[in-house]
């Protein structure tokens, strides 16, 4: 959102004559920019969908808040402007809703609010359903003898088949990949769409969903379950009784390491996706902040830093487009590889 604002300001500035710019001194009364705070605030979830600020007024879409008081057990439905008595946004806990209990202590209520991230997730869900069900309808209308689809359906088919054949089938193996393909494809497209929408600076996107540890934790948990619930006997044997000299497994050294590995694999998945997406968003937000930082330091520096920031923003956005795809691809591929490892064939002696 800051990015869009900065772009609009830049375009406006480019249209204005320089003399008027010089006349318009930056107000010195403004408090200094705290870039890390701004960036973290923009990365965080919120109870409204902020679109723009203009002269101190914030334009935002209020989102429904759904909370259940842990004290009375009562459900509340409201927006952030009509928070019921007893609840407040706790500035010490990233502005999350807390409940003031009668005994003076504060407590976090059960909070199932449709926050910005949740809204973003449902937008992604809707988009995914529209895209794939419309494609599926094409397939229902045609049979195998008709020409391969072109246009949008063809592009979707190409992408699906690329992930299905080159990533899932080759990573898990011809024999076992079938049951996992729908899950891995869903994960891939979910992450891809979320990443791409996250790059949009305005309403239908812009929320940092895959850069939130909760989301990547969820994906990693799903993959963890997919790996371990359906792993075959050979897989568990390799963990608890691997084919190593006896003294390595009598004192359970190797089993301990292997068991540790069971958890580190999904953990690595979780951190990788989270860190990559968070870092990308943080970089873009930081470069946007540089524009504002530049203007607080004077006009000349402002123009210079503006040019620099615009170039870097363009570069970062292009890079993030790539990263959005690569991270979805990597997550899917590693999940597939780990699932494949859970289906080892018996070693040929």
């Amino acid at each position: 959102m800051k990015r869009l604002k900065s772009l609009i300001i830049l375009i406006a500035l480019a249209l204005l004559p320089l003399s008027s710019l010089l006349a318009e001194e930056t107000p010195k009364t403004e408090e200094p920019l705290n870039i890390s705070e701004i960036v973290l605030e923009h990365l965080a979830d919120s109870y409204e969908w902020h679109i723009a600020s203009y002269e101190g007024k914030h334009i935002s879409i209020p989102l429904p808040i759904i909370i259940r008081s842990s004290h009375t057990g009562e459900w509340h439905f409201c927006t952030e402007h009509s928070l019921p008595a007893g609840f407040f946004f706790n500035p010490e806990a990233h502005g999350k809703i807390y409940e003031q209990l009668p005994d003076g202590t504060t407590e976090r209520p059960l909070d199932l609010s449709i926050t910005r991230n949740v809204m973003q997730i449902w937008i992604v869900v809707a988009l995914l359903l529209v895209v794939f069900l419309s494609c599926a309808r094409w397939y229902k209308k045609h049979d195998k003898t008709s020409n391969a689809p072109g246009g949008f359906v063809g592009a979707v088919e190409m992408l699906v088949m690329m992930i299905n054949d080159d990533v899932i089938k080759s990573s898990i193996g011809e024999k076992h990949y079938k049951p996992y393909a729908p899950y891995l494809l869903t994960v891939f497209f979910f992450i891809l769409f979320t990443n791409l929408l996250g790059l949009l600076p305005v309403f239908p996107g812009g929320s940092n969903v895959t850069g939130n540890i909760n989301i990547t934790f969820f994906f990693a948990l799903c993959t963890f379950l997919a790996i371990n619930l359906f792993g075959n006997k050979e897989y568990w044997k390799e963990i608890f009784w691997p084919e190593v000299p006896l003294f390595l497994k009598a004192i359970p050294l190797m089993p301990a390491i292997e068991l540790f590995g069971v958890f580190t694999k999904p953990f690595a998945l979780m951190i990788r996706l989270f860190a990559n997406m968070m870092a990308g968003h943080a970089m873009i937000l930081s470069f946007s902040c540089v524009i504002f930082l530049g203007w607080t330091m004077g006009v000349g520096l402002g123009i210079g830093l503006n040019l620099f920031s615009i170039l870097m923003l363009l570069f970062m956005n292009a890079l993030e487009l790539l990263v959005a795809f690569v991270q979805a691809y990597v997550f899917t591929m590693l999940s597939a590889v780990f699932i494949g490892l859970a289906h080892p064939e018996h070693h040929a002696e």
Binding site: L112, L128, N214
Partner: protein
Amino acid sequence: MDFTQLPAILTPDLGLLFWMLLAFLVVFGVLAKFGFPAIINMVDERNKFIDDSLRKAHEAQERLANIEKEGESILQEAREKQAQILKEAAESRDAIVEQAQQKARLEGARLMEEAKIAIEQEKKAAIADIRQQVATLSVGIAEKVLRQNLRDDKSQMDLIDRMLDDSTVK
């Protein structure tokens, strides 16, 4: 564990997890049933269809090549047969001509022979005729001569005597 010191994006959030679970289950349920299988199955079927078609095309090509070869051999055979027939025809023509010539020759010879025989017979008849006429003429002349010589009795007697002498001497 106190998470308040962590940035918001690292803070566990039950609400977000709950909605994420719900959203993912919805999307996974729908797409795993209606979305991806439709696409993947169709592509697999299409691949199989293409493989099949390719195989069929190969077979057809092979068959076509065989047919061509067969046609060529048939043509070759026909050509050979044609040549043979032509040769046979020429042979039989020659034979017929030869035969006809032979026949003609024989017929000619026969006709000549017959003509010769007829001529011979004609000749003989003519000779016999001439001989008879000559004899008749001779007898007549002899009669006339005798009559001339035996006009008196004495000459008659002389002749009779001579004849008798001739007969008795013999």
